[in-house]
């Protein structure tokens, strides 16, 4: 009996969203595979954007990335966004993080002006995470679950 209880407790602890990041897993982190899982738990349906959009909007050259997903809601009233990319070049990574920060600030402004305070708040409260070459940010009512899923792969 005590073994069963102990196993259950360990499984629950292991499944929890800890801050522990396994450095070795960052390198093998498969953005597309993780997004496949994430896409099933987003608040609304998201679409992934092509290289032209990523370049024009974010100023990010996807040739500099080792893996990437830029997904957002089709609904202009929704802030929901999931961005994940891996960039090994430190300088470019910092530049691209700044672009994403700019985009999030702009999204919050636009949605505030559009009388969508809850959506604007989601954008304002989102946090860009940088784990080695991996960068990700989630703007969603389901951000806890999505972040947890991403972190469970780290």
């Amino acid at each position: 009996m005590k073994k069963i209880i102990a196993i259950i407790a360990l499984v629950m602890l292991a499944a929890g969203c800890g801050d522990n990041v396994d450095e070795s897993k960052i390198e093998s982190f498969d953005v597309d595979a993780v997004y496949d899982t994430v896409s099933s738990i987003t608040d609304g349906e998201l679409v992934t954007l092509d290289d032209t959009y990523i370049s024009n909007y974010y100023g990010i050259d996807t040739a500099d990335l080792d893996g990437y997903v830029f997904a957002q809601s089709e609904d202009p009233n929704s802030a929901e966004t999931v961005i994940m990319f891996k960039c090994n070049d430190d300088a470019k990574r910092q530049k691209y993080i700044t672009s994403v920060e700019n985009a999030i600030k702009q999204k919050a402004i636009e949605l505030t002006n559009y009388d969508q305070p809850e959506q604007a708040k989601l954008a304002q409260e989102s946090e860009i995470q940088e784990k080695g070459p991996l960068v990700y940010v989630v703007i969603s009512f389901a951000s806890d679950d999505i972040n947890c899923t991403i972190e469970s792969n780290l």
């Binding site: 009996m1 005590k2 209880i5 102990a6 259950i8 407790a9 629950m12 602890l13 929890g16 608040d43 679409v47 992934t48 954007l49 092509d50 032209t52 959009y53 370049s55 024009n56 909007y57 974010y58 100023g59 990010i60 957002q72 089709e74 609904d75 202009p76 009233n77 929704s78 530049k95 691209y96 700044t98 672009s99 700019n102 985009a103 600030k105 702009q106 999204k107 402004i109 636009e110 949605l111 002006n113 559009y114 009388d115 969508q116 809850e118 959506q119 009512f141 389901a142 806890d144 679950d145």
Partner: protein, 277 residues
């Protein structure tokens, strides 16, 4: 026995604590607002345009000037090469539709650059508050200046239709601002051909006293009348939707669904190219 009982008791306690934390965390997540949709939209507006000066072709409502043509891909790709589409949330929706990796937008459209912002209006653009381009939000004239496009399609105005025509907020005034904006854009990209798309209507159900299709039509007319003076090509795009936006094309009464992009926007842009407007 005592020792064993203690261990079980201790493990159970940990389990209860863990479960408690999980329940609290779930509750917190559960509070998240879901009804994004309804809270919404009073916003309405969008742009339009009218006939041009130089090469000035006026593409009036679909039937006359233009007949549906099956333009071939190469011609379309050539016509829309180095083209920018700029506008508010209606255009933002189109941009997302076109640049969706798993979408079905044609290649000739995917090559275009979209510079759009939700809640953006003529006045915002005139003040230099611009949408994101190349990683930063900036004045549209700067973005266009760095691209130097052959063609620029502008769709603005819907966000300024609410209350338009009421005291202190006249159609003439907004029209004047649009003229100023066009002048700024033309000065930034003098070689570009500028197309102004008329503001599409909202659904009948979305209309209010302050925001309605009659106001949109009046505004569109005022722009059309200025097209020659401004040196732009006015596109009577709104005529493609009739008197009101069909509910099956509408996301929320104002914004468009992929069905509208497939059945109205793309065929319309094909017609423009086929007629070499």
């Amino acid at each position: 026995m005592n020792k064993r009982a203690n261990r079980v008791y201790w493990l159970l306690l940990i389990m209860i604590l863990i479960m408690g934390v999980c329940i609290l965390a779930d509750d917190k997540r559960g509070q998240s607002p879901e009804d994004t949709e309804d809270t919404t939209q009073q916003i309405t507006t969008q742009s339009f345009t009218e006939p041009s000066t130089e090469s000035s072709t006026e593409l009036t409502s679909s039937d006359e000037t233009v007949e549906t043509t099956t333009a071939d891909e190469a011609m379309l790709e050539n016509y829309y090469k180095n083209t920018v589409f700029t506008g508010d949330s209606i255009m933002s929706g189109f941009a997302t539709f076109v640049q969706n990796t798993s979408g079905d937008a044609p290649k000739w459209l995917k090559q275009c650059t979209f510079i759009t912002a939700v809640s953006w209006g003529i006045d915002d653009a005139l003040k230099g508050s611009g949408p994101m381009y190349n990683g930063k939000a900036q004045d549209i004239t700067l973005s266009l200046g760095s691209i130097k496009p052959e063609k620029v399609f502008i769709n603005l105005g819907i966000n300024e239709m609410n209350g338009l025509g009421s005291p202190g907020y006249s159609i003439e005034k907004l029209n004047g601002k649009y003229g100023e904006l066009i002048a700024r854009i033309k000065s930034a990209v003098p070689e570009s051909k500028i197309y102004v798309m008329s503001v599409p209507p909202c659904t009948a159900a979305k209309q209010t006293n302050m925001f309605n299709n009659e106001t949109i039509r009046k505004f569109n007319r005022s722009v059309e009348e200025k097209a020659e003076e401004w040196g732009i090509t006015y596109l009577d795009f709104s005529a493609e939707f009739g008197q009101a936006l069909a509910p099956e094309y509408a996301r929320d009464g104002i914004h468009h669904q992929p069905k509208a992009f497939r059945e109205v926007w793309i065929p319309y842009l094909e017609k423009i190219a086929a007629n070499n407007v």
